[in-house]
């Protein structure tokens, strides 16, 4: 009897997503095959286009937008800012020497020395503070423009996030995973409810995009915002929709979420910035 109980609880532990047995690789495999099964007609790399990968009608409208995209001006602004000299005579180039080759696909990464997840936006502001400049606001404006410029140079590169075999890195990954699957807010919904279990369904008039590929198009120009926004701006919006208190942009919580969320899209191509309604 006791043996059966042990076997049962072992099975239960294996079935829960947070038990720690599943490696990031196992997670990625399971995550991906779920969407492939749900949307067999969608080519893998088309998942980077969010809801437009699923719905022909909205895709047509979106393709028209993409012909004269509103983010074009953000890329131009970002380029200018990126090359402007700081007071000390240096520019962002000194912090991102590889920018021309495309670097967005490597963010976020885990920095073993500081024990922290480094997102592209946090690296942009670190570059500023290292050079004696004041940090930019996190969710929109100049930081989104610079991020858009860097992303535009990274288009076509495959997302390549690594979770090193380091306790803190694994903890950050698991924290993000937990955020993704945990119910929250007065409305008690998880990211996974909307973007995993019911991806492709309609919530009111909106089709829910798959979480696979989600991060590749950021930052985005959103008509609803009438401007650019970073991924963490979107996280806050989705937290608020379920009446949860959003975390601060670039908080450890959202960095961890971005780490997990982007890892799940490994191998898909960067196509940011993009246009969204």
């Amino acid at each position: 009897m006791k043996k059966i109980a042990t076997v049962l609880s072992a099975l239960l532990i294996a079935a829960t997503p947070f038990a720690g047995q599943a490696t990031p690789d196992d997670d990625l495999e399971a995550f991906r095959s779920y969407y492939v099964k749900q949307f067999p007609e969608v080519p893998m790399n088309d998942f980077v286009n969010g809801v437009y990968a699923l719905d022909a009608a909205s895709r047509e409208q979106w393709e028209e937008f993409e012909e004269f995209p509103s983010y074009e001006i953000a890329i131009d602004n970002g380029e200018e800012k990126f090359h402007n000299k700081f007071a000390n005579g240096k520019s962002y180039v000194s912090c991102f020497p590889q920018y021309k080759k495309g670097i967005k696909q490597n963010y976020p990464y885990f920095d073993i020395d500081s024990g922290k997840v480094v997102t592209l936006e946090s690296a942009i502001n670190k570059c500023r503070s290292d050079n004696g400049e004041k940090p930019l606001k996190w969710k929109k404006g100049a930081i989104a423009d610079i991020s858009a410029y860097i992303a535009s140079l990274s288009r076509g590169h495959k997302i390549n996030i690594k979770v090193p075999n380091n306790a803190k890195a694994i903890a950050a990954y698991n924290r993000g995973k937990k955020h993704f699957y945990a119910k929250r807010g007065q409305l008690n919904m998880a990211c996974a409810d909307c973007h995993y279990h019911y991806a492709g369904s309609k919530i009111r008039a909106d089709i829910l995009s798959p979480a696979l590929g989600h991060t590749s198009g950021f930052p985005v120009y959103r008509n609803k915002w009438a401007g650019m926004g970073t991924l963490h701006r979107r996280y806050a919006g989705c937290n608020k929709q379920v009446r949860a208190k959003p975390f601060k942009a670039q908080s450890d919580e959202y960095k961890a979420l971005e780490y997990f969320h982007t890892y799940m899209s490994n191998g898909l191509e960067i196509n940011g910035p993009s246009q969204r309604k």
Partner: protein, 123 residues
């Protein structure tokens, strides 16, 4: 003074009589219709039930399709109490449901949930 008193008692007995003759149910029906309208309003209200986010309901536009369409409810829920329980806290039937735990999370009051459940039961 006495005249007024007499008129008053007569009126009172007429009212009582009307009551006995079965006019009260009419009044209750009017209340009932009002409550159903209130229930519908709460069900459609985005800040309250917002049921249309996930369910098609007759008379509602731009409905989502996360949950099943709400129709033939008396066939699916012969028991009103079971229907109310589903709306109060859908987790009792499906612990992982995406449906909002309207009662325990105080998205609607008990009274509001009654109104919504009574309206839904008529669909």
């Amino acid at each position: 003074m006495r005249l007024i008193a007499r008129i008053l008692t007569t009126t009172a007995s007429i009212v009582a009589l009307i009551g006995c003759l079965g006019f009260t149910p009419t009044i209750a029906n009017a209340d009932g219709a009002k409550n159903l309208a209130k229930g519908k309003e709460l069900a459609f209200n985005r800040k309250k039930g917002n049921c249309l986010a996930c369910h098609q309901i007759k008379g509602g536009t731009l409905a989502g399709n996360i949950g099943p369409p709400l129709l033939a409810m008396k066939a699916r829920f012969p028991s009103y109490d079971k229907l109310r329980a589903q709306i109060y806290d859908a987790r009792t039937n499906n612990p992982n449901t995406i449906m909002i735990p309207f009662g325990p999370h105080a998205v609607m009051s008990d009274k509001e949930i009654d109104l919504v459940a009574k309206y839904i039961h008529t669909l």
